[in-house]
């Protein structure tokens, strides 16, 4: 995989996903396609030449010149407020990628796959859900998605549809507030919740964990404690600014 240089990209579509996150659809002429789970660097240039670059996971995968990002606003951030509040269809920026060859899923593996997302960590895992569904592999997939409350779930509607036959099985976890009628515990994922939702360790699933650093550390430690081999747990952490 050779990344190549910066490619001009145009915002094709924006959609609010949560009170603080937006899904952006970009058109990138010459985009080489990506594997599910990869990310891109995004470069913004102000009219006076000032530039800033950040990395964002792709919610899309595969061929074609259309890619999708979902960006959660960091209130004191520099780039994410622009992408969540200001950008509109027709605006231009640049992307470089696809990047990352480890936190990816490609069709063909035999064993079960467990996806565990915290907050905006759903984005690369959504790409994997879509790829697995398109590859008719979703029967061996489970997704555990932890959010503060139902309104904070990016891709909530699409994930609700994946419970249809042929979709990936989704287990929700709520850390602050649950939807009405929710009978399970509300709070941080604990060992019991993980044991109930995650493929058993003796089935040797490959586990993808993505989210804020604290979430990923907590979940990955618990998975090791529950008998999952560290070498089968792939992590991607968001941290800092």
């Amino acid at each position: 995989m050779t990344v190549g240089g910066w490619r001009p990209a145009r915002i094709a579509e924006v959609a609010d996903a949560t009170p603080s996150a937006r899904v952006l659809r970009l058109t990138v002429p010459g985009w080489p396609g990506s594997d599910a789970g990869q990310h891109v660097d995004v470069r913004l240039t102000a009219e006076d030449g000032y530039q800033a670059v950040r990395s964002y996971s792709l919610g899309s995968y595969g061929a074609g010149e259309s890619i999708e990002l979902a960006v959660d606003e960091i209130p004191d951030g520099e780039v994410s407020p622009y992408l969540v509040r200001d950008v509109r269809p027709g605006d231009e920026l640049e992307v470089k990628g696809p990047l990352g060859g480890y936190f990816v899923w490609r069709p063909g593996g035999a064993g079960p796959v467990q996806l565990i997302a915290g907050g905006s960590g759903i984005v690369p895992l959504m790409a994997i859900v879509r790829a697995a569904t398109d590859a008719s592999a979703s029967a061996s997939f489970r997704l555990l998605y932890s959010v503060r409350g139902p309104e904070n779930a990016i891709y909530r509607d699409e994930l609700a549809r994946t419970v249809d036959p042929g979709g990936v099985a989704v287990t929700w976890a709520y850390t602050r507030s649950a939807p009405s009628g929710w009978t399970e515990r509300v709070g941080r994922l604990d060992d019991d919740a993980l044991r109930a939702a995650v493929w058993e360790s003796d089935r040797e699933p490959v586990v993808y964990v993505c989210g804020p650093t604290g979430f990923v550390e907590h979940v990955a430690d618990a998975l090791v404690r529950l008998g999952h081999a560290p070498g089968r747990i792939k992590t991607e952490r968001f941290g800092g600014a």
């Binding site: 995989m1 050779t2 990344v3 001009p8 660097d41 913004l44 240039t45 102000a46 009219e47 006076d48 000032y50 530039q51 800033a52 670059v53 950040r54 990395s55 951030g77 520099e78 407020p81 622009y82 200001d86 950008v87 605006d91 231009e92 920026l93 640049e94 470089k96 990047l99 990352g100 060859g101 480890y102 936190f103 650093t213 550390e217 990955a220 430690d221 998975l223 090791v224 560290p230 070498g231 747990i233 792939k234 992590t235 952490r237 941290g239 800092g240 600014a241």
Partner: protein, 197 residues
């Protein structure tokens, strides 16, 4: 043709000449790891260097702590675009380690508890440029930041500063380590943006 992003730049951050191209300043200490954090007790820890002839030199934790220790203040630069300026570390210089190693090799593969590897040319490890560090900001290094000990090669992107380091294998020829096999540059100089293949 230049691409401008309409209306971008209102919230811009200060630029700093100590910041390599394409990086931004952070006061936090973000974590980048490919898997769970290994928990290694110092009583189980050792550090070993194997030269190109297969000869092994190794230290227990206590033996390693008896080596001369440097105080290091340095900037660090992660390929995921954050940089942190003026960080303070304590560790043993690789020059001190290599005083005990006979080698004509040109490259090293760093090996970590948990299986991580990264390749570094010897010329980037010697000459006061690299350490095995076990304290950050006056405290023992946290496991999530690579404790009990990590490689510190601050003039290269921070993935070269292998967390949970347990040794070096010396090689005549360069070979890619973990991230280098997964899309990242063989060398990783932040000032020339050696980020990706």
């Amino acid at each position: 043709m230049a691409v401008f992003s309409r209306g971008f730049g209102a919230r811009r951050r200060e630029t700093d000449p100590q910041l390599p191209p394409g990086q931004y300043l952070t006061e936090d200490f973000p974590v980048l790891s490919a898997g769970p954090t290994p928990r290694i007790d110092t009583s189980d820890w050792s550090f070993a260097v194997r030269n190109e002839n297969g000869d092994l030199v190794s230290w227990t934790w206590d033996e390693f702590m008896a080596l001369p220790i440097d105080d290091v203040t340095t900037d660090i630069h992660c390929v995921t675009r954050w940089s942190k300026l003026g960080t303070s570390w304590r560790g043993v210089s690789l020059d001190t380690v290599f005083d005990h190693v006979a080698t004509d090799a040109s490259f090293a593969m760093a090996h970590s508890y948990g299986g991580y590897t990264t390749n570094v040319p010897l010329e980037d490890l010697l000459g006061g440029k690299a350490w095995v560090a076990f304290e950050f900001d006056g405290e023992p290094l946290d496991p999530e930041h690579g404790g009990p000990a990590r490689l510190l090669v601050p003039h290269l992107y921070f993935w070269k500063s292998a967390k949970w380091v347990r040794g070096l294998t010396l090689m005549d020829d360069d070979e890619p380590g973990f991230w280098e096999q997964n899309g990242y540059h063989l060398h990783g100089d932040p000032w020339t943006e050696e980020r990706y293949w």
